[in-house]
Subunit: 243 residues, 2 copies
């Protein structure tokens, strides 16, 4: 079958399309809304197509199927953070690991707070987990790598403060704290910058920082986060502390 | 229709019943397994009844419907902890608020680690939240009260350590940390006593405790938890610290 939106651009859609963005973005937006409100298994590609106002066949022009749509949505909850992990480690000297951890947490909180329809709630839906396929495995892999980044930075900081938690347990606790954003949003709470700072401060205390050290790390990390938002070229590396 | 298991006790069940416990317990067990594997909306009372080996009509003798089964399952994730909140506050003097918080966390972790089929994953299923009814509202209320208990103890401890997090945010962070048990179990991890102690230690650090204070609080709290397990009558109150 032909792709309605491409091959016959002038032909009217089934339902007047009032969405914004490319058709692909509109499919993701509608799928996110349906998956998070009805569940993954209970949503058909036909319903997604209808919600966008395209034919089901056109949807398959953009995605191989529902699994690929799900994987794409799940990736939006980890990819923006993953993309800056290396940059954070480059930007912040190892002596300032508290700033690096805080920046990672703030970027991750920001990612989870912005992702449309709080798609992080999909992580543990029974029908998502049982629909486990190659795409889902690739999300789990990305999520594991992110947890390891937390474990690595967290363990360095914890060791400095005499906190004896094993790195793996610490990594789980840190990402669990950050993913509180998903819970907050699911419960109808707004995650503003004050809340983000509270959560990032919690991550620092989990690794043994006191209030003074946490406050300083948050100040430095929020400044670096503003620079990251302006684009990598404008970023000034965090100075190495003078001992 | 008559209740098969009561009115005709001798009549064979539809499927030989190999479950343990009362029929009511078996219904809860089967429902927990089905809700957490297939989802709430996708599971019918008929399937639950078939899994137990009773007729659908017999199920309605025990529960008004699927909503009541869900509410009963959700209650198992908070009630055992709620039941000891007042006891904890009575047992532990206010000067030992770090021990009280640690004990609350350990009891809650234990509750979540034991609950069959990790039914805590049901908290945020879209079909559970959208099926919101009076029973579900009563669970949300119980969960809120538990969060307030964390907020109250956590804020007292945080204030002592100069941690400035608002009580409500702190309460959310603490319960989020403890509910990491649900995430760990969903990811196939075992939550043993070492892991429980790691998480409880994390809660104490979230409120500003250092490693030494956390270690001491964990020692006192685990001793009190053992006493609580033996029954309230055997519990020796935690001594008031000599200043």
């Amino acid at each position: 079958m032909s792709s309605l939106s491409r091959v016959r651009p002038g032909r009217p859609r089934l339902i007047p399309n009032i969405g914004v963005g490319t058709p692909r973005e509109q499919v993701l937006e509608a799928a996110a809304r349906l998956f998070t409100s009805k569940g993954f298994a209970a949503t058909s590609t036909r319903e997604i197509a209808e919600a966008v106002g395209i034919r089901q066949a056109s949807l398959y022009y953009h995605f191989a199927g529902k699994d690929e749509i799900l994987a794409t949505l799940l990736a939006t909850t980890v990819r923006p953070t993953q993309m800056v992990v290396d940059e954070i480690v480059t930007l912040v000297p190892p002596e300032r690991v508290e700033t690096a951890l805080c920046l990672l947490a703030l970027v991750d909180i920001d990612t989870l707070a912005r992702v449309p329809h709080n798609v992080g709630v999909l992580y543990q839906l029974p029908d998502v987990v049982s629909a486990a396929n190659l795409d889902y495995a690739s999300f789990r892999q990305a999520h594991s790598e992110l947890t390891e980044a937390y474990a690595d930075l967290g363990a360095q900081l914890a060791t400095r403060h005499g906190v004896t938690a094993p790195p793996r347990a610490l990594g789980s606790m840190l990402i669990q704290q950050v993913e509180g954003v998903i819970t907050l949003r699911a419960d109808g709470n707004d995650v503003d910058s004050d809340r983000a700072i509270e959560i990032a401060g919690g991550c620092l205390r989990l690794c043994g920082c006191d209030q003074a050290e946490a406050t300083q790390a948050i100040r430095r990390a929020t400044a670096l986060q503003d620079q990251l938002r302006l684009g990598a070229s404008a970023v000034t590396p965090c100075p190495t502390p003078v001992r």
